[in-house]
């Protein structure tokens, strides 16, 4: 996997390393990337079709230059542009991002804890997020399609709650994270600010019981998300809900650690 340019416009493979050395070199690169081991993603859709990888790949392609390096100013400008309408409001928090992470919804792997939670509960695994990365913002992205036959100016109120454990093991509380009113005719991504929940889950992964979505019509009646056009688990791969989090590395300088 290593190639050297010999200076006369010819690239040659570095094949003089023994297997053991190659493994060590791979480990060096993994460490450089801040990883302890080579990740083994359990399941992942094609980067072109699944919503979270697609969002990230688009972002990556916006940022990278021809030689694969990134212009830091371009990185900042692109993030700014993408987040002018962001739920996070404070663009400054996103400007400084050193790392952006999209989380896949793992609600289906979790034990149901709330009645009728299908397509209303979301679970994002924060257990691998390193503590030295400070969360500057996090948003839940839900895709909404237009509601057929709805009157003009009809709207829905979307509320996202953080699920919390009560004193009794069976008790669960819902704490409001954010809310937003959207028109029934809206077609696109709804961005809900969930920074507080993400920060809490990073520090205390055991407290992470996920998020709960509630949708109300103009009469204040609770409706199922699909009635408001919010794409659920059975919807298209590229419209599945996911969470995006922005991080700032606490230490600017690369710290050498004894390994």
């Amino acid at each position: 996997g290593f190639y050297a340019d010999n200076g006369v416009y010819q690239t040659i493979a570095v094949d003089r390393m023994r297997r053991k050395e190659q493994r060590e070199m791979q480990q060096e690169i993994l460490t450089l990337l801040g990883l302890h081991h080579r990740p083994k993603p359990l399941t992942h859709g094609s980067a072109e079709s699944a919503s979270a990888p697609k969002f990230m790949l688009d972002l990556y392609n916006t940022l990278k230059e021809e030689d694969g390096s990134i212009d830091e100013k371009l990185f900042t400008d692109a993030l700014k542009e993408r987040h002018l309408n962001s739920s996070l409001g404070n663009v400054k928090t996103i400007d400084d991002a050193d790392m952006i992470m999209s989380f896949v919804n793992h609600a289906e792997t979790q034990r149901p804890i709330i009645r009728h939670e299908r397509d209303r509960r979301f679970y994002f695994d924060f257990s691998e997020v390193p503590l030295e990365e400070t969360i500057t913002g996090a948003e839940l992205r839900l895709y909404k399609t237009p509601v057929e036959g709805a009157l003009p100016n009809t709207s829905f109120t979307i509320q996202v709650y953080r699920v919390e454990q009560g004193q009794d093991p069976e008790d669960k509380f819902l704490r409001i994270e954010s809310n937003q009113t959207v028109l029934a005719s809206m077609d696109g991504w709804i961005l809900m600010n969930v920074t507080h929940a993400a920060t809490l889950w990073q520090a205390f992964p055991a407290y992470n019981l996920g998020l709960f979505l509630s949708v109300h019509n103009e009469k204040g009646e609770d409706v199922h998300p699909w009635e408001a056009g919010i794409v659920g688990r059975k919807g298209a791969d590229d419209k599945q809900a996911f969470l995006v989090s922005f991080f700032k590395t606490a230490q600017e300088l690369h710290v050498r650690r004894t390994r």
């Binding site: 996997g1 190639y3 340019d5 993603p41 359990l42 990134i70 212009d71 830091e72 896949v104």
Partner: protein
């Protein structure tokens, strides 16, 4: 010591440059410049978790910082002083060092164990230019 040994294994015998034999003796040494070590994530079989890029040009600086430093366009003022002192006491004082003068960032897009996707910016990762320090 382990790092030095590893580096030695990575060194490649570069063929002499065509113009080298016609150059004056003082230029006969390979001057400090940027060289490429391309790390191919694809060839490493890492594409199941690294989405992009296929690999990256790690780059490194290689060559001599020899007197005179006129040929070294990126020589620092300090490098010139270091050269002069080295000439006075060649056994004791080392020559200037061929090292990066400009570094830029690279971003890597990859999956973690939970199939989450990470776009991480690594500062000072890619060598843009080399020079004598």
């Amino acid at each position: 010591a382990a790092r030095a040994a590893k580096r030695k294994n990575l060194e490649i015998s570069y063929p002499d440059e065509p113009l080298q034999m016609f150059a004056p003796p003082s230029y006969n040494i390979k001057s400090c410049k940027r060289k490429t070590l391309y790390v191919s994530f694809k060839a490493l079989g890492w594409q199941d978790w690294i989405i992009a890029p296929d690999g990256y040009s790690a780059f490194y600086c290689d060559g001599e910082c020899a007197f005179p430093l006129n040929a070294q366009m990126n020589a620092t003022n300090h490098a010139i002083v270091q050269t002069l002192v080295h000439l006075m006491e060649p056994e004791k004082i080392p020559k200037p060092c061929c090292a990066p003068t400009k570094l830029t960032a690279i971003s890597v897009l990859y999956f973690d164990d939970n199939s989450n996707v990470i776009l991480k910016k690594y500062r000072n990762m890619v060598v843009k230019s080399c020079g004598c320090h």
